[in-house]
């Protein structure tokens, strides 16, 4: 089967040349890396930026007056400015560097959540990753908050209009994912934020699966908190961003104590630095931030709308071809999806599928995708998931389909 007539003029081969890891064989087959929702690969620009930092500029930041310390500080703060630009935040002071989305949500649950009282409510959605469930349950155990859930339908679409009915005078925060990692659903976060704001409730958006696929403007969304992980955005692991509106961050107590987050310290009392330093105790992942900046600049050189259109063509093609595999069921069929497809095949456990397609060079995720409530909702223990980036090709989708057929030949 040949790939469909292409609408966009996306030069995927030129993009692939920027990602050295893609040009390899696995078990004697060309690698088809279709596990981008788990983590993305890194372009040369990112790898080189990190190597350059350690070869030439490495020093600790915000202290020391020597040349390397100044270079490292300038590079780290330039990364903050790049993240501000990437999200269109008003100020770089609204950008807190964290380890990733998980830490960002834990930070908000701990610090912003410190003011919550027993009986106060946090509303999440039925399709959250464990990272946007468990921190609230820990807060629940500490302070007795109530966790409420926006339901979804059988296609994996949230009943957004239910949000208004869930909000009460005790609701302190709505925390929803922008894009579901398990289903691919793109949630109408602007609409959800508008509903919450009508009731005076702030909103945290988990953007981990959104920013790799689409431009995000936190001012246009009017998000109160927005977070993402660098490693899902072609950057290193261990670096991520929490955006928070300045007035919210300024009102929040520290998350961790230590160096770099204080103004003065005595044994009687310490006073704390303003945001974002207040939330960045200890030496941060400086090289990670520099790698994130390189990734953002790399994305800025691409035509991101063309990349998005190309990914949507990959999604359409993959969906069509997957449906030709006997016994295959797609889990999550929302009309608005990022390039993520979850599926099951009758008679084959996803774990066996993952092992078999790997032997044909195809890397997919199998399991519960850290979204056990989503698996329970759809009545499956696990799914297989193919997730795409703008460097994937139609040929890789053909390779996946071929490998799935071989799995059926072997096991069904």
């Amino acid at each position: 089967m040949n790939a469909p007539q292409r609408v966009t003029t996306w030069d995927v081969e030129a993009v692939r040349a920027d990602f050295p890891i893609l040009a390899q064989t696995v078990h004697g087959k060309p690698l088809a890396y279709l596990d981008n929702a788990a983590t993305t690969q890194k372009p040369n620009a990112v790898i080189d930026a990190i190597a350059h930092f350690y070869r030439h500029d490495n020093a600790n930041i915000h202290r020391g007056v020597h040349a390397l310390a100044e270079r490292a500080t300038i590079a780290y703060e330039a990364a903050r400015e790049a993240a501000r630009r990437f999200l269109n935040a008003r100020s770089a002071n609204e950008i807190v560097f964290v380890r990733g989305t998980t830490e960002a949500i834990n930070l908000v649950a701990t610090s912003f959540g410190a003011r919550f009282q027993p009986g106060d409510e946090v509303i999440v959605s039925a399709m959250e990753h464990h990272a946007n469930i468990v921190p609230w349950q820990l807060l629940q155990a500490r302070t007795g908050i109530v966790l409420k859930v926006i339901p979804m339908d059988e296609s994996g679409v949230l009943y957004s209009e239910e949000l208004a009915a869930l909000i009460t005078p005790r609701t302190r925060l709505v925390a929803v994912t922008h894009v579901s990692n398990a289903l691919g659903t793109i949630n109408p976060v602007a609409e959800l934020i508008a509903i919450a704001h009508q009731h005076g409730v702030p909103v945290l958006v988990d953007g981990a699966q959104a920013v790799p696929h689409m431009p995000v403007d936190v001012q246009a969304l009017d998000a109160d908190f927005y977070c993402f992980s660098g490693h899902k955005l072609f950057s290193p692991t261990g670096i991520g961003v929490l955006y928070g509106k300045a007035e919210l961050l300024e009102s929040m107590p520290p998350y961790q104590g230590g160096g770099d987050m204080i103004r003065t310290v005595s044994f009687e009392k310490s006073t704390f630095a303003p945001p974002p330093q207040r939330f960045e105790a200890g030496t941060p992942h400086i090289a990670g931030a520099i790698g994130l900046k390189a990734a953002i600049e790399y994305l800025e050189r691409l035509d991101r709308l063309a990349a998005l259109r190309y990914e949507q063509e990959l999604l359409t093609y993959a969906t069509e071809r997957l449906q030709t595999v006997p016994g295959l069921k797609i889990v999550g069929s929302a009309p608005e999806k990022a390039a993520v497809v979850s599926f099951t095949i009758d008679g084959i456990h996803p774990h066996d599928l993952g092992t078999i397609v790997d032997r044909y060079g195809v890397a997919i995720r199998v399991g519960h995708h850290c979204a056990m409530p989503v698996m329970t909702f759809f009545g499956v223990p696990a799914t297989a998931r193919a997730s795409f980036a703008f460097y994937n090709t139609f040929a890789e989708i053909d390779q996946l389909i071929d490998a799935l057929q071989r799995a059926r030949d072997l096991l069904v």
């Binding site: 078990h27 004697g28 087959k29 084959i348 456990h349 996803p350 774990h351 066996d352 092992t355 078999i356 032997r359 044909y360 199998v366 399991g367 519960h368 056990m372 698996m375 223990p381 696990a382 071989r406 072997l410 096991l411």
Partner: protein
């Protein structure tokens, strides 16, 4: 490629995956233990009926991949009629077969169970084959032992 995969998914494993033996609940079991692999969501319930130091019946229900299902099915076949001491010895041999750093000299010394040795080339799948055996370990231990085990 085909051959490597066939070393893992041997005909005997596929047969037990398609038609698991002793796949039923047991109302009069003397011990029931839940086994769970949180990494992949596999879970099984193992039923053991002991009489006078002998395993007179063993069965399981649950949901899992081909490897864990076949491993559980083969386990029930191998254990029925064994004394508790024999079962413990077999458990030790299976742990050795599946997890020891040195490959066993003759997997087929364990009879049909030797087919599970294929998982040794798939480190991420060893836990699938081990799940029923870890569950058995809990089932054979003292009565105050946990009634649920996890591979993690």
């Amino acid at each position: 490629m085909e051959q490597e995969l066939r070393d893992l998914y041997q005909e005997l494993i596929l047969d037990h995956k398609r038609r698991p033996r002793n796949f039923r609940e047991m109302a009069d079991a003397t011990r029931t233990v839940e086994g769970h692999n949180p990494l992949c969501g596999d879970h099984l319930r193992l039923f053991v009926k002991r009489e006078a130091g002998r395993i007179v019946d063993v069965s399981f229900v649950g949901e899992g991949c081909a490897i864990s299902t076949a491993s559980a099915s083969l386990l029930t076949e191998a254990l029925k009629g064994k004394t508790v001491e024999e079962a413990e010895a077999l458990l030790g041999q299976m742990v050795e077969l599946l997890t020891a750093s040195e490959a066993p000299p003759d997997p087929m010394a364990l009879g049909k169970l030797g087919v599970l040795a294929g998982v040794r080339d798939y480190p991420s799948r060893v836990k699938c084959a081990m799940l029923p055996w870890r569950t058995l370990e809990a089932a054979l231990s003292n009565d105050d032992a946990p009634t649920a085990i996890s591979t993690e």
